[in-house]
C-alpha cells in the first residue's frame, strides 16, 4: 500500500494531489488489480478443473481451443457467455434478481483484500484480517438467498434454502478450526499469522501442534462445504434441483456466480495455505526466493486437492450434511481449540 501511494505521488508530482486523493486512487488501483487477478484465477481454474476431471475420468478434457491442451477454452467460454441473452423471468423480482450475483461476487472480492501475498504486498493490512475475511465472505449467503427467492422458481428456492443453511452452519467449524492458530499468534492480522511460521516446514502451524493438525482437516472439509462444491454441493445438486439457486440465471449474471465459486475456491485454499501451511515461507528455511509464488503454489495445490475430492466422491444428503456439521465437526473443532490450548501450556509454547 505504501509503495503504491509513493508511486502514485511520484507519477503525478509530489505536491499536485491531496493525501485523500492519493489514497482513493491507490485503493481503486488495488481493487481493480485484485478483480483482474481474481477473474484470471477463475479462468485458469475452470480450465484446470476440466483437465483434472478429465484426468480422473480417463479422458482428455478440452484439447482444441488454443491448440495446446485447450488452454483458451475458458476464454472462449467467457466470450460465449458474454454474448448470451440476459433473461429475467417475468415473475421474478427484478431488483433482487439482478443484485444477487453482484452481492455474491462482492463477498469473495472483498475477502481477497486481506490476503497476504508476500511480506511486502497485502492490499489491506488489517489488524482483524482473518476475522474480516470470514465476515465478508458470509455476504455470499445473502446473495444466494436473494437469488433463490427472487427467481420465483421452486427449485431455486430449494437450492437457496439449502445453501443458506449449509453455509451458515459450516462457517462455525471453519472459523473454529482457525482459532488454535490465532491462539499462537495472538493476532488476527494475516501477515502476523504468516510471519509467526517462519523457519521451515516444522514451524508451520500444521506440524506444530497435533490438535492443529486435526483442525486443518476440519478446516478443509468445512471449506469444501463453504464453497458449495462436491460432495457438499447442496445449493446446486444438479441431479436433484436442476441447477439450484442459479437455475434461472443466464449470461453474465450466471458468470458472476461461476466466477465467485472459483474465487471462493481459491480464497479458502489461500487461507489454508496462510493459516496452516506457512503462507509465503518455503518449506526449507533460507530458500525464500519467491514468496508470492510459494504462497500461490501452496494455494493451487490445495485447489487441486479440492478438485480431486469433488470428482471422486458422491454427494451427501442435506440432513447428513447438517448432522456432519453440528454433531461431528463442531464438537471436534471445539475439542481442537481446547486441546491446542492445553498442549501449548504443557509444552510451554504459550
Amino acid at each position: 500500500m505504501n509503495i503504491l501511494t509513493e508511486m502514485i505521488r511520484g507519477w503525478f508530482g509530489p505536491d499536485k494531489m491531496s493525501d485523500q486523493m492519493v489514497l482513493i486512487l491507490s485503493a481503486v488501483t488495488l481493487a481493480t488489480l485484485m478483480f483482474v487477478v481474481m477473474a484470471l484465477c477463475a479462468l485458469v481454474f475452470t480450465w484446470m478443473e476440466r483437465k483434472v476431471a478429465g484426468f480422473i475420468q480417463s479422458r482428455y478434457g478440452p484439447m482444441r481451443t488454443g491448440r495446446w491442451h485447450g488452454w483458451a477454452q475458458a476464454v472462449a467460454d467467457m466470450l460465449k457467455i458474454l454474448g448470451k441473452e440476459d433473461i429475467i423471468p417475468a415473475e421474478a423480482n427484478r431488483f433482487f434478481f439482478s443484485f444477487a450475483p453482484i452481492l455474491v461476487l462482492l463477498g469473495s472480492l472483498l475477502a481477497w483484500a486481506a490476503i497476504p501475498w508476500s511480506p511486502n504486498f497485502v492490499s489491506a493490512d488489517l489488524d482483524l484480517g482473518l476475522f474480516y475475511i470470514f465476515a465478508v465472505s458470509s455476504l455470499a449467503i445473502i446473495g444466494i438467498l436473494m437469488a433463490g427467492w427472487a427467481s420465483n422458481n421452486k427449485w431455486a428456492l430449494y437450492g437457496a434454502a439449502r445453501g443458506a443453511a449449509q453455509m451458515v452452519s459450516y462457517e462455525i467449524p471453519l472459523a473454529l478450526a482457525c482459532i488454535p492458530v490465532v491462539m499462537y499468534t495472538g493476532s488476527l492480522n494475516t501477515s502476523d499469522i504468516v510471519i509467526a511460521q517462519q523457519g521451515g516446514v516444522l514451524n508451520w502451524f500444521l506440524f506444530r501442534n497435533p490438535f492443529i493438525f486435526v483442525a486443518f482437516f476440519m478446516y478443509f472439509i468445512a471449506s469444501i462445504a463453504e464453497t458449495n462444491r462436491g460432495p457438499f454441493d447442496m445449493p446446486e445438486t444438479e441431479s436433484e434441483l436442476v441447477a439450484g439457486y442459479h437455475t434461472e440465471y443466464t449470461g453474465m449474471r450466471f458468470a458472476f456466480f461461476f466466477l465467485s465459486e472459483y474465487a471462493n475456491l481459491f480464497l479458502v485454499s489461500l487461507i489454508a495455505s496462510m493459516v496452516f501451511l506457512g503462507g509465503w515461507w518455503s518449506p526449507i528455511p533460507g530458500t525464500d526466493f519467491a514468496p508470492a509464488l510459494t504462497f500461490i503454489i501452496k494455494g493451487v495445490l490445495m485447489v487441486l486437492l479440492n478438485m480431486w475430492v469433488r470428482w471422486t466422491l458422491p454427494r451427501v444428503r442435506v440432513d447428513q450434511l447438517m448432522y456432519l456439521c453440528w454433531k461431528v465437526m463442531i464438537p471436534v473443532s471445539l475439542t481442537c481449540v481446547v486441546g491446542a490450548g492445553l498442549w501449548m501450556m504443557w509444552r510451554g509454547q504459550a
Binding site: A161, P231, E238, S239, T312, P314, R315, V316, V318
Partner: protein, 392 residues
Amino acid sequence: MANQETKMNSGWADQDHVPGIKSELMELNMGPQHPATHGVLRLLLETDGEIVHKCTPVLGYLHRCAEKIAEGINYKQFVLYTDRFDYLAPVCCNHAYVTAVEKLMDVEVPERAEHLRVITAELSRIASHLIALATFGLDMGAWTPLLYCFREREAILDLLERIAGGRMLYNFFVPGGVRYDVPDEKWTADVLEFVTMLETKKVKDYNQLLSYNKIFIERLADVGVISQQDAFDYGSTGPVLRGSGVSFDCRKDDPYSVYPKFDFEVPVGRGEMGTVGDCWDRYMVRVREIEQSCRIIRQAVDTMPGGEVHAIGLTKPVKLPAGAAYSRTESSKGELGHYIISDGGQMPFRNKVRSPSFCNLQIIEKIGVGQMVSDLVAFIGSLDIVLGEIDR
C-alpha cells in the same frame, strides 16, 4: 371447523404453530425435463420442505403407439420396433418378441443361433446394467463412475456393431434365428477377452469407487425399502424384485432359449448395508448380475456349435397360424412379456407388451411418500426405468 378438517386430512398441519398463518403443501413438478428422471418421466410432487407427501407419476411423453403399429406390419418387420422399447438393452427386447412369435409359429431355432442370441442378449444386459450403475452414481453426485461405465459400454457397442452392424438399435434377431453369423473367428475371442477384463478388473473398480463408498452407502442404506409383499403386490420384477430378496429370474425359473444349459446364480438383495430391499440392495444386485452375465457369456461361447443361424430365411414374410401366445423373458429391467394374438394372417391381431419398467415404476406412489426429495431421486435411480419401455 375448517381447521379441524385440515388437521384430519394431513399430519403436517399440526406444525401450524403460528395462529393466523396458513401453511400448505408445495406442488412441485419434477420433470419431464429434469436431470434425475431418466428421460421424460414427470412426477407431480406435493412437498413440505424436503419431505414428499404425495408423488404421482405422469406418463405418456414418449408414447409412439408401438403396439398399434404392430397390428399393421408383418411379424418380421416389428422386430426393429422392439429395439426402441428399451433402447439401453435392445437385444433383450428382440428376444422377448421373437420368442413369442416362434412359440406360435412352432419353428425349431438352430442351436448356433440360440447361442448367439444368448451371447448378444447378455452383452446387452451388461451394457444396460452399466448404464444403470453410471446414471445411479450420477444421481448420487458421483460423476466419475459415469465415464468409467460408459468406457466399458463402448467396448460392448463395438462388439455388437461388428456382429449386428448397429451401435444402438441392432434389429439383430429374426423369428427363427439371428440375422448374421459371427463375423470372424476373432470376434468370439474378443468377447471372451472383454468378459474376462470386466470380471477381473472393472467390476472391482466400480465396487471400490462407488459401491462400498461410505457416503454412497449412507445415502442408500435403508432408503426406499420395498418389502417382499410390496414387490409382489405391485408386480415388480427383475433387479427390483430380486433386490427385495426374492430369487426369481425368468432365465432360471421359466427357462427359455438355451439358458438351462448354463450354470449361473441369481443374485438377490441380502440387506448387507441396511434393510433387505433398500436402494443399495437393488444397486448391488445389478453389479452382481454383471458378473453372472459374464459367466453365461463365457459358457455360451465355449459351447457354441456350428451350423446355420436362421431357420426360415430373412426376407420372406412370416404367416402365423391363428391362436395366441405369451412369452416372457428376463430383460435387464425385469420380466418382459409379449402377448400375441394371431388371426392367421401376416400381421398380428393384437400385440400386448408387458414391460418391466412400467410395472416397476408404479410402486413409486407408495414408496415415494414420506421420503426426502434427495431420497426420491435415489429411489428412481434404483428402479432403473427406461421411458421408451414405459410409454412404448
